[in-house]
């Protein structure tokens, strides 16, 4: 048995563990073990790589691992669940930069053309992923303004950058020893990442991150081709597929095409005037309490506002009290409620809501007409009936949670301000809707203290 066979087998095992881990992510009951299986695969892959006979000096490696590992561990332990979107963005950028560096380091004067092409690809994709993710991080964490940055001549600048990249890459492949070409490509890739993301609004960042996540997988694939390593290809493809599928899901749930997300915004369509009939009926926490007390079936529909208000724990308290009061309580989760796919599930799970109480949109909609009270907590677009009723609405056709089918709807938000899509919500004017104005956490706090007294 030669070492190369052992290495090969090790990589086969590692890839198998990644695949198995991903398979186990298919159900909440096995997901945590699945993550560990995947981590075990990573461990195997890294140990196998460390045993490689070509390695003569472990100091750089160990140094890099210790530094990186410590930073990773500290960040992972301390990050708040509400900041997950920006953390994923940041990590994603790091992955991209690692691919960039690997591609760069793999360069040697005698590389074959095929290898050079894959090196350029891994540098390019890695570079775009790096700066693109950093901008996305900045917008999400509000370190940068979250607006769309548009300037005249943007198209021209972008075209020039693309031309520069293509030209630089071609020259580099033909003459890899000339570092000017290399640095040009690296520099332009970094610039391009910035240019691509700045014109996109902050709220569209989840789509961007997911797409860049897919790119970081592709960058790993390209690096795998460059250094002829299967496990990079397998793992990279899995990541690439995951990013693309999540992007698709988000676009579908928002009823927008990917190019619409990337190249325009809602801005152009949102300034139309919709005639909405009905009037707004505010309600006090006191009155809401009386209705809730009498309810035997309650559906809670959370949205981005719940994350902003950090209201998940008090939501759980409310649900406990309602259940103690004899009501049946379910949560209706829209696939793009919040600011990343599955955002609400993580927040509610953190607050100890069991996952079998978290119903997906398709499960909760059919039973909505037997619900006494639907409580909408900081959600807006995902419960907007215009998506079903107003054909001229920009979100017409987007699947939403039909809270208006419930006997009574409480909407908890601070004002009549619109949601992410920037459009009016006829729900607020419906006969059976009551607006409970105020910060979600505070409003819920009042309901909880009334119910528990």
């Amino acid at each position: 048995m030669d070492t190369s066979l052992v290495t090969g087998l090790g990589y086969v095992v590692a890839s198998g563990l990644f695949i198995f881990g991903l398979k186990m992510l298919g159900s909440p009951a096995t997901a945590r073990r699945g993550n560990m299986v995947s981590a075990a695969g990573m461990l195997v892959a890294i140990v196998v790589a460390l045993l490689d006979q070509g390695i003569v000096d472990y100091t750089y490696i160990v140094g890099g691992m210790v530094v990186g590992g410590l930073i990773g561990a500290v960040v992972a332990r301390s990050v708040a669940m509400t900041s997950m979107p920006e953390m994923v963005a940041l990590f994603n950028g790091l992955g991209g930069s690692a691919s960039l560096l690997v591609g760069w380091a793999a360069l040697s004067p005698d590389s074959a053309t095929f290898t050079l092409i894959t090196i350029v690809l891994s540098i390019l994709i890695g570079g775009v992923t790096l700066t693109g993710s950093l901008i996305a991080y900045g917008k999400l964490s509000e370190k940068l303004g979250s607006g769309q940055i548009v300037f005249s001549g943007q198209q021209i600048v972008n075209s020039l950058v693309v031309l520069g990249i293509v030209g630089g890459a071609a020259l580099f492949v033909m003459d890899p020893t000339n570092t000017v070409y290399l640095y040009t490509v690296i520099g332009l890739a970094l610039v391009f990442g910035i240019m691509v993301v700045i014109p996109i609004g902050g709220a569209d960042m989840p789509v961007v991150i997911s797409l860049l996540n897919s790119y970081s997988g592709l960058a790993a694939c390209a690096a795998g081709f460059a250094i002829d390593n299967n496990v990079l290809i397998v793992a990279g493809s899995l990541v690439g597929a995951s990013g693309i599928i999540l992007t698709q899901i988000m676009c579908k749930a928002m009823n927008r095409s990917l190019s619409n997300v990337l190249f325009s915004g809602f801005a152009s369509v949102s300034n139309e005037v919709t005639e909405i009939e009905g009037e707004i009926k505010p309600i006090s926490a006191d009155d809401a309490y009386y209705i809730l007390e009498a309810a035997s079936s309650v559906a809670i529909v959370p949205g981005y506002g719940m994350a902003v208000a950090q209201a998940q724990h008090v939501v759980k308290e409310l649900s406990n009290l309602l259940e103690a009061n004899g009501a049946e309580v379910v949560f209706g989760i829209h696939p793009v409620a919040g600011r990343m796919p599955g955002h609400m599930n993580v927040l509610l799970a953190e607050a100890d809501v069991p996952y079998d109480q978290l119903l997906e949109m398709d499960e909760v909609n059919p039973r909505m007409d037997s619900v006494d009270v639907a409580i909408v907590i900081g959600a807006n677009d995902v419960v907007n009936p215009a998506a079903r009723e107003v054909e001229s609405s920009p979100i017409y056709g987007m699947p939403v949670i039909n809270v208006a089918d419930a006997r009574t709807v409480f909407v908890l938000k601070r004002s009549m301000a619109s949601g992410f899509a920037g459009i009016e919500n006829p729900l607020f004017y419906k006969e059976n809707t009551r607006m409970l104005f105020g910060d979600a956490k505070e409003s819920l706090g009042k309901l909880v203290s009334e119910l528990s007294s």
């Binding site: 750089y60 992955g95 795998g224 597929a241």
Partner: protein, 94 residues
Amino acid sequence: MNGAEYLLFILMLSIFLGFELINKVPATLHTPLMSGANAVSGITAVGAVALAGTGKGDLAQWLGAGAVALASINVVGGYLVTDRMLGFFKKREN
């Protein structure tokens, strides 16, 4: 056949497999899926290790070391935060 075609085969099979598997992940777990995928993309560490260990002390080795560090953040941070999240998901105890 030479190496490149094997790699293409592996690429094609993994992409198909990735789509099949990820389409089965329920919406409830999409956030952990995203951060878990992030951790997996730290696989570049494997490539970086070989480059950082040449012992030549040249630019490539420094680049490799940088890549090891960056990818390690991804790996350690990604798996830990995913584990933390998934730890929250509990079934209703009856």
